[in-house]
Symmetry: C2
Subunit: 128 residues, 2 copies
């Protein structure tokens, strides 16, 4: 059932889909996105090496398998670069501290509004 917050979310999605990105803004968004993705992947690589180095028992093998499946699914879900959702994605990354406002410098206020709203958790919409 649609309630008022669903309507608000619907409006916001429509507004975000309607944003026009300049080539410079696209580059900024892509760069911030890639930076966060690369750092997140590096942290998974580090954790994988650490866990593998410590394995002694059978169950630890399958724990590592489970960890990798979980992280792959999380990363696939989280890193969605479509312009229709990227402000929510960047907002989430800002909230997690994976990027900061400096990485977003050069984006116009129309985008920053949605990004900051998403970072505050008031515009965090499931994008999957």
């Amino acid at each position: 059932m649609a309630d008022s917050s669903d309507f608000a979310a619907g409006d916001m999605h429509a507004d975000v889909r309607g944003l026009r990105w300049s080539p410079v803004e696209k580059t900024i968004a892509r760069k911030a996105f890639n930076l966060a993705l690369q750092e997140e992947l590096q942290s998974v690589i580090r954790e994988t090496k650490d866990r593998a180095a410590r394995i002694q028992q059978r169950f630890e093998l399958w724990d590592l398998e489970h960890y990798l499946t979980k992280r792959r699914n999380e990363i696939d879900r989280k890193y969605d670069f479509r312009y229709s959702v990227i402000p929510f994605v960047l907002g989430g990354l800002l909230q997690e501290g994976r990027i900061n406002e400096d990485h977003l410098r050069g984006l116009r206020e129309d985008k920053l509004t949605y990004i900051r709203r998403a970072a505050k958790g008031t515009g965090r919409i499931k994008t999957a």
Copy 2:
């Protein structure tokens, strides 16, 4: 459709299910089985550590995940200790060189016949 080889396989399965294992034979079978399983797990652990240590790129993470899933499924399928199938399992391990005839010393001829037949590939029946 059942053909003559299906009948033969059916007979062999029935014969194997009818085998009587002495306590000593059970211990021998269990020991050979565990030895092969432990060695196979150790080789997966070694391979996992090697692969993890070499990871530099994203795809190598998911390759490792895929490798672990594959090996877990193979090991789960292969190491089935039910007495109704253990001669086929031990025959497979003999064929792969994971155990040798010394590990089976003490088993009576009725079991060895099926184990050797399985090892030669003439009695290798899908047990799953």
